[in-house]
Amino acid sequence: MNELELKQLWQTTSEKLEKTIAVNRINSEEISRLKIYHFISLMKPIKIFTLLAGIVWVGAGLIILSNLYLNSFSEMSKFFLFSASVQVGLTGLALFMYLYQLFTIYQVDITEPILRAQKKIASLKTSTLWVTRILCLQLPFWTTFWWTEMMLQEWNVLQWLLTAGITLAFSFAAIWLFLNIKSKNSDKKWFRLIFNGMEWAPLINAMALLDQLDEYNADIEPETRVRL
């Protein structure tokens, strides 16, 4: 089959397909309503639940912590206050980044050339990794909540070694994950194990798309390469 026959084959079926299409006249009000519905439908229930849970967590955390700082600071364990403040602060930062990223993706100019628009969208999607990296930094603070000033005076060396060992291990894991959760490690086993579920599919797809775009860039002259 030659080039001409190939195109004819495609176009013949396309024309027939087109003849069978009946597009209802859509008015602007309907389209506007659809748009709002569509944006909400883009977010799966689990994502909406996670976002709402995050907002409630950070909101409640801020209220409780503000109250403790203002009214019970002298009586409270400073370890608890510090750990809780870092937890809430990091969760708030991750939440803000996630929401900002969602809105930025939504605002990408879809009329731009394919390679440029897709590069922007895929890069924004892969920046979800930043949210995960920030949340990983919380790990050691989960082990310091229950520390008290009394521990400093009464504990023996063995108890301290065990407690400090756990916190150090969590600190090491947090820093290691923060430094290594990057697109370039996406082919590693540990990475695939962490980002295994369906909820990570858009991220993994975005990484694959970035690889495709890089292939296109590799073949062309430097001045026409796609840049953000």
Binding site: I110, E112, P113, I220, T224
Partner: protein, 168 residues
């Protein structure tokens, strides 16, 4: 632009160029319900982007950009590369009986081939089959004309090899 003018312009575009939406949807979605959703999303994006339309571009170039960007961005998760396209019977209605089997096989093979391509290559192949010039494809994709030529050449080689396996 007044609301009524905008609405009229939108309706004219959809009426005159609806084929673009459906052809792109056909290349990116195997499932009919997904295609309908995708076409609806394309129309929404056209409506939202009307104010950005620049007269220096052909309307078809602009529409291909929107429909391909939407197809690639929002429907990646729905595409599976191991699936085969089925050819709707009505598309074959006007082809004679003796030709039917051969044409069906060729079309099925072509659509399967397109389905197996990566997203950007699929866009390129679609535009090539739509008989767009290399210059217009380059404008839609945002790359150089020479790169379009190189990439099309490579895809055609793969396609040729696939069709050569088809027994007459």
């Amino acid at each position: 632009m007044k609301e009524n003018e905008r609405r009229l312009q939108f309706q004219n575009i959809v009426e005159q160029h609806k084929g673009i939406f459906y052809r792109v949807a056909r290349a990116y979605c195997e499932n009919e319900d997904d295609r309908q959703d995708l076409v609806q999303e394309m129309m929404i994006q056209v409506w939202q982007s009307l104010h950005r339309y620049d007269n220096q571009f052909r309307i078809s170039t602009w529409l291909y950009r929107i429909s391909l960007n939407v197809a690639i961005s929002f429907y990646r998760k729905n595409t599976r590369r191991d699936t085969k396209y089925s050819v709707p019977n009505e598309q074959m209605a006007e082809i004679s009986e003796e030709e039917k089997t051969a044409k069906e096989r060729q079309l099925s093979l072509l659509e399967q081939f397109i389905c197996e391509l990566k997203e950007i290559d699929r866009a390129l192949m679609l535009l090539y089959l739509e008989d767009k010039s290399h210059a217009e494809i380059a404008e839609i994709l945002g790359t150089s004309v020479s790169n379009v030529g190189t990439k099309i050449g490579r895809i055609k080689e793969k396609l040729k090899s696939r069709f050569s396996q088809l027994k007459p």
